[in-house]
Symmetry: C2
Subunit: 397 residues, 2 copies
């Protein structure tokens, strides 16, 4: 059954087990915000707050690994660095934390397979991307790093970034404020923003376990045994039709490798500009559609809302390909991938929504209202409803 | 050859490759300090500085993994949490940063092998250990966490902690100040400090790849294939004589499993007390003898010093066993393990050294002067000289 593949590969989109453990912890100052927020205990200012955050490229780094192995081109390692950092930055901007950021990089590698020059490029690109983000007005400081040789534990290489920052409490965007009426604006994940030098496939850095195994063919199963858990059910491992160098059928201007490894876009300059122009009280929330994809918003806002997304972007080619290859229902696809917009904003009124769309388009990112925030019929359950063409999916939270 | 085993297993004690990449980065405000220190960019205070740091239990977590698999006792997972946090805390105290700390936990797991209750215990113990450290006067705040299901990349489970803190610049202990004459005080790594409820084997959290494979026998090679890199030379994998439940020959009050999994001691309450009583200008440095063990100090202080450690503690039983099992030279053993003291202080004079020893003993941690800081004959090379009984080893930096 296609819908089981995701779980059978050992990935959970909703992380219910983890949520249970976390629910026992101090929820911080704004329990319903997109990131956990504490008092400014390091800076000691009563009107500020402090935030730490961590994330990484996940198994997307394995696409880079295979491309590097095949070509020996070290530049393939620059993508996962950007993926890992953007996965943090684009979470932090959702609460309005625009930096400066202190950044720490943790590298775990299997030294049998990953040579020192790889580490060198990862560190170099971390430094370069900090400078690039700083040049865009998002101040990034490479504060710490550790490289651990733990081949007994890491098959190839894993990188994780941790961010630390502080901000004024008055500027926090607290997603618990979402209520109806409201308008959900989607910011397109593919294409080319004005600060980007290459066109983005939109793939982001979530769902890459499914994406790799559904698209890539069985030659990788024997040639790159170090890129999957041997406990995975055999028929779910690299069961696709493609080589990385094959063109993507849905859009032959991409190879599969390019589409899968396209570095995650940061929306930070866009959010910074929106927050410069639009008063914060008109913005209920930004949601980074990362783990959980289009359904993530269901975790936020007051209980009893209905996020009625009835007008999504047509999915970029990579997602059409992924649905076909994985035989994915709309329901599963929208839980796994961003499907076309990786950032959404909930605006308190239509004018705010339209203003944000104008700003986004001026920066080279397509944007549109994907649907309204309504009242759900069951007031104790939040519902996410998604419509795409003739299909629909519905999720209760 | 015994001395090759360490490298053949894919572990580097001196990380020269990594040092090359890092050398291109901004070294921060105190380039010779034990941790990288930046301006207080998050707090904005000119007289403060900011620090981030990350580390984890490394492959010591695999000892816990095997003990849990065998017994189903979830409490074995509490050790690696403490190891991971103390590896950070005991680095940070070396620059005089005594908290408060913001702490972020990154968990990468193979969901095929690691169930949700394991994650629950790891998060619970992180919270509990934060509270315990806070009760000892070292304020710890669990600020963030992420659990990634990345079985394609992580054989079992990996955890990493990142700490963020700030401190007054006037209180920074800058190891670049080390000069001669000076006195190196070693603080014993085994036994039981007054804040500990159990006796510690002293093993710490470094060298555990070597330790596991040298002590444990070949039954683990077949039963726990998920706990080593398959690329490792076959004769170096679990080549020892022991089962985890066997008594340690050198001290039969320990089982091998207990000795290997004994949670890393924190010296933070000791350092806090030393810094309360002794003026900071009399203390050149604290060195956490982690990666690189007894030789780590060679990276610090002005060039041309000779760290003449001619009176180490007799090694605790676990290290005597590890030398025997791995057929390790003193040279290799002192690069791999702490060998008896995991923290050392360089005092500017004998009285300061003796005062710190008195404080340490009053807190239940044995301490002694392990040797003087001298001028090396070659003024551009730093030398670490170690003597233990009839043997000696020498390292140039």
């Amino acid at each position: 059954m296609a819908t089981d593949a995701y779980l059978e590969r050992g990935v959970a989109s909703r992380k219910l087990e983890v949520a249970a453990a976390v629910s026992k912890l101090d929820p911080g100052l704004y329990p319903g915000a997109f990131c956990k927020i504490l008092a400014d205990l390091l800076g000691g200012r009563a009107d500020h707050c402090g935030i730490m955050h961590n994330d990484g490229p996940g198994t997307k780094i394995l696409v880079a690994y295979i491309l590097w192995r095949k070509t020996l081109n070290l530049d393939f390692w620059r993508g996962p660095v950007r993926d890992g950092m953007v996965m943090n930055i684009d979470d932090l901007i959702c609460v309005g934390a625009l930096g400066p950021y202190f950044i720490s990089l943790s590298i775990n590698r299997n030294k049998h397979l990953i040579s020192g020059d790889v580490i060198d490029v990862i560190i170099d690109e971390t430094n370069a991307f900090c400078k690039f983000m700083t040049s865009l007005g998002i101040e990034c400081h490479y504060a710490a790093g550790d490289t651990a040789d733990v081949g007994d534990n890491t098959r190839t290489i894993n990188i994780d970034y941790t961010f630390s920052t502080a901000m004024k409490r008055s500027e926090v965007i607290d997603a618990s404020r979402i209520t109806n009426p409201g308008w959900i604006v989607g910011f397109y994940s593919a294409g080319r923003a004005k600060w980007e030098t290459e066109t983005n496939s939109g793939v982001g850095a979530n769902g890459l376990t499914s994406a790799r195994h559904d698209l890539l063919n069985k030659t990788y199963k024997t040639a790159y045994k170090e890129t999957y858990a041997p406990e995975t059910r055999a028929d779910l491992i690299y069961r696709g039709k493609y080589l990385l160098e094959d063109p993507l059928r849905m859009d032959r201007s991409w190879t599969v490798g390019q589409a899968l490894s396209s570095p995650t876009r940061t929306y930070a300059p866009l959010v910074k500009e929106i927050l410069r122009v639009i008063p914060r009280e008109k913005i209920y929330a930004f949601i980074h559609c990362s783990g959980g994809g289009q359904t993530k918003i269901g975790n936020f806002g007051r209980k009893g809302l209905k996020y009625f997304k009835n007008d999504l972007f047509p999915p970029p080619a990579i997602f059409r390909e992924l649905r076909l290859a994985g035989n994915l229902s709309l329901e599963r696809a929208c839980q796994t991938y961003n499907m076309g917009h990786r950032l959404e904003m909930v605006a308190a009124d239509m004018e705010t929504a339209e203003d944000s769309i104008k700003i986004s388009k001026s920066m080279g990112i397509d944007a549109k209202i994907v649907g309204p925030v309504l009242q759900n019929t069951n007031p104790s359950v939040t519902n996410v409803y998604i419509q795409s063409g003739d299909e629909w999916a519905s999720y209760d939270f």
